[in-house]
Structures are given as C-alpha cells and as structure tokens.
C-alpha cells in the first residue's frame, strides 16, 4: 500500500509551517528512540557486570544479591510450557471459528471476536485476582507453576488467536475451495491442510504468546508465587524472572545489580521471541494485510 502512494514524499512547498512539522515529527521519533536507548544503556551499565555463565546456572544467594537465577529460569520455562500446552489447542479452535466461518456462524464469530478483544484489554492484575481465585482456591492448586501457567494461558490467548486467525484465513482463501471440492471434512481441512499452510503464522502466534507471557509479572505474583527454590514439580511454587526483578528492585536493598542483570536476560529472551515473530510475519506476506 505504502509503495503505491507517490504522495508520500511527493512535491510539497517548503514553508516554515512544514519545516516546523518536520522538526516536530523527527523530534518525536528521536525522543522515543532516545528513551529506548536510555533504558538499554541503563540495563547494560548496571547489569552487564553481573552476567556470566555462573549467573545463569546457579541458585540465588542472600535473597538474590549474589548467586544466580537458575531456579527462576527453570520456573519460567515450566510456566511457559504449561501456558502453551493449554493455550495452543484453545487458540487453534478459536482461530478456526474466526477464519473459516460457516454460513450459520457469523454471529458466533462476531461474539468470539468481541470476547477476545475485551479479554486482550483486561488488566494483568485482574488476571492475577481471577487466577488466584479460580486456580489457587476453587480448584485447589495453591501457589503453583500450574496456577501461574493456566493464568498466563488466559492472558496470551487473544494475541495468539488474532495472529493465527489471520494466517488461517489466508490459507483458506488459497486452498479452501479446493478442499471443499475434494469433499474433505472441516476438521481434516483445518488440521491437515490449513494449519500446515499457515505454519509461519502458527510459529509467530506461539512466539507472541511466549513474549506476552514472559513479560507478565502482576498476574504471577498471586498465582505462581515467590518461592525462589528450584521447583520439584508443577505443583510447586516457582518464581518467574519478572517477579524476581520486581522483588530484587523493591524488597532487596543492594539487589540492584542482580535486578538489572536479570532484566537483561529477560529482555534478551523477549526480544528474541518478538524478533522471531516479526521476522516470520514480515518475511513474506502470504496473506493479505489486515485479513
């Protein structure tokens, strides 16, 4: 679309208004880039010294002032695995309803879309309250990795469904009529044809879900909890990386360097998965934009 619009940098009179506008626009961009740069410099400056192989592979000592973050890495990985195990089937089902609508299902798809849009906006602390109530209390899972992962699955659903539905819709546009002509059932079409064809979107959805889950703190404090030991099972409490950063920064005097080093590790993970999804989605556009 952008390539089709020659007015983008088309001839325009250079009056002082326009010069001011250019200055404001470039200024805003510079402020944003500068602020992000400042954050990265702060993280590197205060945290890089603490980073080492040992930091990644040993347990924390003295509440995290020294030692490493191995238990948090393991807890985070287990929480993510739980989250994906629950979220992926739900996301595929929801994306199929959105992307491959049947004639009677228009209202259903609309309700699902609205439900997901609202879910995407629910504040993370509300997910925390909900998870603590449903998973920890009602279902009796207590403070556990399972509770945390289930809560995050609820949070990660909207973004995963959105990306996956766009990919499936594009695949359906390409192959849907052919599958119908062959008399394939809806389930077979979805699982054997559309889902493989939409593999990049599926991978991007996974990566975005992981990114969303990695970034989360508030929903985990009251579900997977604070315990900074190595978890022995999914029913143990486990402290996620983000919760560790929060605890070091707010409750542990002298924990600043460790907090920054942990934040560096978390940022590296988040940027890796978000970068991966951006690459997968931008690499080529097999489906129309805005589908």
């Amino acid at each position: 679309m952008a390539d089709l619009a020659p007015v983008r940098r088309g001839p325009a009179r250079a009056d002082w208004h326009s010069v001011v506008l250019a200055a404001l626009a470039w200024g805003a961009a510079a402020v944003v880039v500068g602020a992000l740069g400042w954050i990265v410099v702060d993280l590197l400056g205060a945290g890089a010294r603490r980073l080492s192989w040992q930091f990644l592979t040993t347990a924390p000592q003295r509440s995290g002032r020294s030692g490493g973050i191995a238990p948090m890495l393991v807890s985070t990985a287990l929480i993510l695995a739980t989250c994906l195990a629950v979220a992926v089937p739900l996301a595929i089902a929801a994306a199929a309803v959105l992307a491959v609508p049947v004639s009677s299902g228009a209202g259903r798809a609309r309700r699902l879309r609205i439900g997901l849009d609202l879910l995407a906006g629910v504040p993370s602390i509300i997910f925390g309250l909900f998870g603590a109530e449903l998973f920890c209390r009602v279902l009796g899972l207590g403070f556990s990795i399972l509770s945390g992962g289930l809560t995050l699955a609820c949070m990660a659903l909207p973004i995963m469904v959105r990306v996956l539905a766009a990919g499936l819709a594009a695949a359906a546009g390409e192959h849907g009529a052919g599958a119908a002509a062959l008399g394939l059932s809806r389930t077979t079409t979805l699982l054997r044809l559309l889902l493989p064809a939409a593999a990049p979107a599926f991978a991007a959805a996974l990566a975005l879900g992981v990114g969303r889950a990695l970034a989360e703190t508030a929903a985990l404090i009251f579900t997977s909890g604070y315990v900074d030991r190595m978890p022995g099972s999914l029913l143990d409490s486990g402290r996620a990386l983000s919760v560790h950063i929060y605890d070091l920064a707010m409750n542990v005097p002298g924990g600043d360097a460790s907090a920054h080093a942990t934040a560096l590790v978390l940022m590296a993970l988040v940027l890796a998965v978000d970068g991966l999804s951006a690459w997968l989605l931008l690499r080529r556009r097999p489906w129309p934009a805005g589908a």
Binding site: W38, L43, A96, P123, R212, L214, M267, L271
Partner: protein, 270 residues
C-alpha cells in the same frame, strides 16, 4: 472444535463473574457509598475509601496520555510522511519491540534512573510525574502504531487531491491527513487509556504508593492496580473483599473504554 472455541469466547465473562463474586460480600457489608465517603483507606480500622486510588489512577493516566499523544502522533507522521523507507521500517520495528518490553523492565529503569533524576529537582522523586513518564513510554507504541495505521488508511486519492491543490506538507498533514484519520487515532488513544488504567508493575515501582489525592505532579500516588498488589498478600475478610471491589471498579472502567472502541467502527459503517 466449537466447544473448545467457547472457552476463549466466554473467558472474559467468567473473569468478570469471579471478580464480582469475590467482591460481593464486601459490597453487601460496606456498600458502594462508603467506598467513596469513608474518612480514608485504613483497612485495619474498617475505613475503605477508594477515591484516593481512583484519583491516582486517573491522574497518572491523564498526564501520561498528555505526554504520549503528541509524541505518538509525531512518530506516526514521521513514519508516514517524512522518514525514508529504511528509517521508517526501523522505527516501526523499534516501536513494535518497545510494545513487548516487560512493564517490570520499564519500572526498573524508572526506579533506577528517572526517580533519582526527579528527586534531584523535587523530593521525593517517586511521584505522579515519574509514573506518568514511565506510563507514557509504555503506551506510546500503541498510540503511534494505531495512528500510523489510521494515516495509512487515508485514501491515496485524498492525499493526491491535497497535492494537486498545491497544499504544503503542513497543509496536507495537519489539514487533510490527520482529520481524515481522527477516528482511528481516537480509537488508538482510548485503547492506550485502557492499557494505562490497568498498568500495574511499572507504576507500582515508581509512583511512591502513598494513599493520597495528589496535590501536585511531584506528590507520590497509589493507583488502584498497585493497591491490589501491595495489600493482597496479607488482606483477609472485608479488606480482601474491598480489594476485589477495587479490582471490579478497575475492570468496569477498562471494559467501558474497550466497548467504546468496539462500538465506534460499527457506527462508522452505518
């Protein structure tokens, strides 16, 4: 398949039901009126006035939007009308990555860089202003990327028309493109407002968390969401119920904003 898809569709209703259920006893005991007329927020002394936290949340949100809206629009205009394609791609990627930065990382930066900077100017540093700056950075990608999408959706013929009329860059952008895109820009801003109200950790770390209606931007404030995190760990009985009520108030505000956005495009198409 449909049964599985029903779970994501109904999840938001289930969440509302659970938060409402948790707040029901407190609403029955304390009543809605006392949540805004009690002498203060002293949960151990049976006083549950939510107003200071609500005022804190709204003040931080308003100031953050006031900072983020001009910056976000500036970024969008830069992306759309000024930056050459490589710079535009890079800036868009940076904004997309910034949207994924964990809020606890923004909070850590605010706590270790921004708060000391503000403290040098005006004590104590951890304040409404620090919260608003951190929050502005957090919602900026939302505003910039939705505004850019709205500008991109302005028909090329409209922009060519502006060029044919010999309008300057200023006239094209401020007089034609931004007004044509205003609906999308508003929707993005409302989404950012909803995100800002619900933001928890970043603000908890830099706002100072004193329960008071802020008198100036240098006063510490406590937001509704921060209040829940701070007190949930030890709250019992009516106190726990009152926290659930503050969650319900927060959820109602956010959902109201989101429904506003949800309604808007349908009205546009008649």
């Amino acid at each position: 398949m449909l049964a599985l898809a029903a779970i994501p569709a109904l999840l938001v209703v289930v969440i509302i039901a659970f938060v409402a259920r948790a707040s029901a006893p407190a609403l029955a005991d304390i009543g809605l009126l006392r949540l805004f007329s009690d002498p203060g927020w002293h949960p151990t002394a049976d006083a549950f006035n939510l107003w200071p936290m609500l005022a804190g949340s709204l003040a931080v949100m308003a100031l953050a939007l006031a900072l983020a809206l001009p910056l976000g629009l500036g970024c969008a205009v830069c992306l759309r009308f000024f930056a050459p394609p490589p710079a535009s791609r890079t800036l868009r990627l940076l904004l997309a990555l910034a949207a994924g930065v964990p809020s606890v990382v923004y909070g850590l930066w605010g706590l270790s860089e921004l708060v000391p900077l503000i403290a040098r100017w005006r004590q104590p540093g951890a304040s409404l202003l620090a919260g608003a700056v951190v929050l502005a950075l957090m919602v900026l990608p939302t505003i910039a990327l939705t505004a850019e999408a709205a500008l991109a959706a302005v028909p090329a013929t409209v922009l060519r028309g502006a060029a044919a009329l010999g309008l300057s860059r200023w006239g094209t952008v401020v007089g034609v493109a931004l007004p044509a895109a205003r609906r999308g820009i508003m929707a993005g801003t409302v989404l950012a407002a909803a995100r800002a109200l619900g933001e928890t950790m970043g603000l908890l770390m830099v706002c100072g968390n004193v329960v008071q209606v802020p008198g100036s931007v240098f006063d510490p404030v406590r937001t509704l969401a921060a209040n829940i995190v701070l007190e949930m760990a030890y709250a019992t009985g009516a106190h726990r119920g009152a926290l659930a009520v503050s969650g319900l108030v927060l959820l109602a505000l956010v959902l109201a904003l989101l429904l506003l956005v949800e309604q808007a495009p349908r009205r546009a198409h008649g």
